[in-house]
C-alpha cells in the first residue's frame, strides 16, 4: 500500500500531463494547419490562430470541464449517489435561468434607464445571476428530495428532471421578451458552447473556478465523512449543517461559473468522477483534485474531437451536444448497474 501523499502526487502529475496533452491536441486541430514553432516565433497567421482562437477556446473548455467535474463530485457526496451531476439535478438549469433573468432585467433596464444599463447584460452580473440560480435550484432540489431528514437519490433525480423542464420552459418564454438578436445569442449560449469568450472573461472565470475548487479540496476530508449517515458524520466531529452549506455553495458557484461561461454542458460531472473513482478509489482527497484535472482534459478533448469530426462539413457542433451524446447512454448504463442488488449503492 502506498501512502495517500504518494498516490496524490502520481494522480496529480498524470492529470496535469493529460490536460497539457489535450490542450496541445486541441490547439493543433482546425481547418487551417498551423505550426507551433511558427506560432511561438510570431509568424502570422499561425500566431493569431493559436493565441487568439484556438488556445482561448481550449482553455475555456478546460476551466468549464474542471468546474463541472468538481461540482459533480461534490453533489455526489451530498446526495450519496454516483448519479448526481449538475445538469441531471437541475443545478445547471437553475444557473441558466438565473443568468437569463439577469439578461432580461438588463434589457428592461436599458428601456427605462437608457443604453448605459446594457453593461448589466454582460460578464459579471450574468455570472452572479447564474451562481445564485444554481444555489437556489440546488437548495430547492435537495430540500424537496429529503425524506425524514435524508436525501433520497431517486427523488432528487426526479425533482431535478422536473426542475430542468420547468427552467427551460421559463427560459423559452423569457427569450420572447428580449430583442431578436439577443434572443439568438441566448439560444446559442444555452446550447453549451466554448467558442465565444474573450481572454479577460476566461481569466476571471478561471480564477473563480480555481477558488471554488480550492474550497472543495480543503473540505475533501470532510466530504468523505459526509457520505456517511448524518449522525455518523456528526459523531466523527463534522458540523454537518455548516459543512453541507459550504459544499452546496462551492458546487453551486462552480456550476454557475461554468454555465455563465459556456451554457449548459451536461454529464461531464457524471462521466469523469466515475472513471476517476475506478482508478483513484472513493477517497475525496484524491477524487476532488484528480476529477477536476481530468474533467478539464475531458472537455478539451470533447470539443477538439467534435471539431475534428465535423471538419469535412465545414461546421461544428456545440460541445454541450457532444457531452450529451456521450453522457446520455453513460447515465443509463450507470442507472442499470446501480439497480443491481449486489452493486447496491456502490455504483
Amino acid at each position: 500500500m502506498t501512502s495517500l501523499r504518494g498516490r496524490l502526487v502520481v494522480l496529480l502529475v498524470a492529470g496535469a500531463a493529460t490536460v497539457l496533452a489535450a490542450l496541445a491536441f486541441s490547439s493543433a486541430v482546425g481547418p487551417q494547419p498551423i505550426s507551433f514553432h511558427a506560432a511561438f516565433s510570431g509568424v502570422e497567421p499561425d500566431h493569431a490562430i493559436l493565441l487568439e482562437l484556438r488556445l482561448p477556446r481550449a482553455l475555456l473548455a478546460a476551466v468549464v470541464g474542471a468546474a463541472l467535474a468538481g461540482a459533480g463530485v461534490a453533489l455526489q457526496a451530498l446526495l450519496r449517489n454516483a448519479l448526481a451531476e449538475p445538469f441531471v439535478l437541475g443545478v445547471s438549469g437553475g444557473a441558466a435561468l438565473g443568468g437569463t433573468l439577469v439578461i432580461l432585467a438588463a434589457t428592461l433596464a436599458v428601456r427605462v434607464l437608457g443604453p448605459g444599463a446594457a453593461l448589466f447584460s454582460e460578464g459579471a452580473p450574468v455570472a452572479l445571476g447564474a451562481v445564485a440560480g444554481a444555489a437556489a435550484s440546488a437548495v430547492l432540489v435537495f430540500g424537496l428530495s429529503r425524506i425524514q431528514g435524508h436525501p433520497v437519490p431517486e427523488t432528487a433525480l426526479l425533482v431535478g428532471v422536473v426542475f430542468n423542464a420547468f427552467a427551460s420552459g421559463l427560459i423559452t418564454v423569457l427569450r420572447l421578451l428580449v430583442p431578436p438578436e439577443q434572443a439568438a445569442r441566448l439560444l446559442y449560449w444555452l446550447l453549451g458552447t466554448v467558442a465565444y469568450q474573450g481572454g479577460g472573461t476566461i481569466l476571471a472565470g478561471a480564477v473563480g473556478v480555481a477558488l471554488t475548487l480550492a474550497l472543495l479540496v480543503l473540505f475533501s476530508g470532510r466530504l468523505n465523512l459526509l457520505t456517511l449517515a448524518d449522525e455518523e458524520a456528526a459523531s466523527l466531529g463534522v458540523d454537518v449543517r455548516r459543512t453541507r452549506a459550504v459544499i452546496f455553495f462551492a458546487a453551486s458557484a462552480a456550476t454557475g461559473a461554468a454555465v455563465a461561461l459556456s451554457g449548459m454542458v451536461g454529464f461531464v460531472g457524471l462521466i469523469v468522477p466515475h472513471l476517476v473513482r475506478r482508478v483513484a478509489g472513493p477517497d475525496h482527497r484524491l477524487l476532488v483534485p484528480t476529477s477536476a484535472l481530468f474533467g478539464a482534459a475531458f472537455l478539451v478533448m470533447a470539443d477538439a474531437l467534435a471539431r475534428l469530426l465535423f471538419l469535412p462539413l465545414g461546421t461544428e457542433p456545440p460541445v454541450g451536444a457532444v457531452t450529451a451524446f456521450l453522457g446520455g447512454p453513460f447515465f443509463l448504463w450507470l442507472l442499470r448497474r446501480s439497480g443491481r442488488p449486489q452493486a447496491g449503492g456502490f455504483a
Binding site: M1, L4, R5, R80, N81, V217, L218, F219, S220, G221, R222, N224, L225, T227, L228, A229, E231, E232, A234, S235, L236, G237, V238, D239, R277, G281, P282, D283, R285, G344, G345, F346
Partner: protein, 254 residues
C-alpha cells in the same frame, strides 16, 4: 459521564422523563429495556446529537450538544446501529476516519494517526483484512471495522447502539469481549443491548429503562429479577443463575 434529570420529546411525544445516570471510566454499563423505552434517545443525547429539553448532560464536564463537534468527537465515540457507506472504502480508510476529529482541514494523516489506526486494527483482529474493501466483508467483520473506527478516535466514552444486533453467537461474544477490553483499558463504555443474558454476563452494571424512565440501576444479579423482567418486558420468565460465574440467566416461558 453524567446525566441529571434529563427530559426529551420528539415533536409532542415524550421520549425521556427525568432520567438520571452516571458512569465512571473503566465501567461497562449495559442499557436494557423494551423497544421504545428511550435507550437510543439517551445514547443520542450523550453523543450530543440531540439537546435535552430539560436537565443537563455532561461528558467529562463538557456539554456535548453545545460544544464544538470536533471537541465532542475527541471525547466520545459512537458505534452506530446501522452504519452506512455509499462508496467502497477499504477497512483501513474507514478506521482512519476515526482520526478526523484530530486532523486538520485537509485530513492528511500523521504518524500518530497511523499508530492509532494500526492499534485499533490489531485490537479488533482486522490486520489481515486492512486492505480489503468494506463491501467485501461479512456483517460481523463489518461491525468490527466500525468498532475499530470508534477505538481509533481514542475517546474516553464509548457508546454502542445495539452492537450485537444481527450477529451470530460467535460474533456477539467477540463484540462483548471487545467492549469489555475497552472498559478494562480505562474507557467508560455504555451499550444498548437486547440480549439480557449476554448483557448480564458481560456488563459490570445494568440500567433498565421503561417508558422513558430508568426503573433499575445496579449489578446484573440485583437488577434482573424475574419480577422486574415480567413487569418491564411483560413476559413471564424463569430466572436462574450461571453456576460458575453467578451471572443471572432469564429464559422466557412460552
Amino acid at each position: 459521564m453524567d446525566v441529571r434529570l434529563v427530559s426529551f420529546r420528539y415533536g409532542g411525544t415524550p421520549a425521556l422523563e427525568d432520567v438520571s445516570l452516571s458512569a465512571r471510566s473503566g465501567e461497562f454499563v449495559g442499557l436494557v429495556g423494551p423497544n421504545g423505552a428511550g435507550k437510543s434517545t439517551l445514547v443520542r443525547l450523550l453523543a450530543g446529537l440531540l439537546a435535552p429539553e430539560r436537565g443537563r448532560v455532561r461528558l467529562a464536564g463538557l456539554d456535548p450538544s453545545s460544544a464544538p463537534r470536533r471537541q465532542v468527537a475527541r471525547l466520545c465515540a459512537l458505534v452506530p446501529q446501522e452504519p452506512r457507506l455509499t462508496w467502497p472504502f477499504t477497512v483501513r480508510e474507514v478506521v482512519m476516519m476515526g482520526r478526523a476529529p484530530r486532523q486538520g482541514l485537509l485530513a492528511l494523516p500523521g504518524p500518530l494517526d497511523h499508530g492509532a489506526v494500526e492499534g485499533a486494527l490489531r485490537a479488533c483482529d482486522l490486520v489481515n483484512l486492512a486492505d480489503r474493501r468494506i463491501d467485501a466483508l461479512s456483517g460481523g467483520e463489518r461491525r468490527r471495522v466500525f468498532f475499530a473506527r470508534a477505538l481509533s478516535q481514542e475517546p474516553r466514552v464509548l457508546l454502542f447502539d445495539e452492537p450485537t444486533a444481527f450477529l451470530d453467537l460467535g460474533h456477539q461474544v467477540a463484540a462483548m469481549r471487545m467492549a469489555q477490553a475497552a472498559a478494562r483499558g480505562g474507557l467508560c463504555v455504555l451499550a444498548v443491548l437486547h440480549d439480557l443474558n449476554l448483557a448480564a454476563a458481560a456488563c459490570d452494571r445494568l440500567v433498565v429503562m421503561s417508558r422513558g424512565q430508568v426503573v433499575a440501576d445496579g449489578g446484573p444479579a440485583e437488577v434482573l429479577t424475574a419480577e422486574r423482567v415480567r413487569e418491564v418486558w411483560e413476559v413471564p420468565v424463569w430466572r436462574g443463575e450461571n453456576a460458575r460465574s453467578g451471572a443471572p440467566v432469564v429464559l422466557p416461558e412460552l
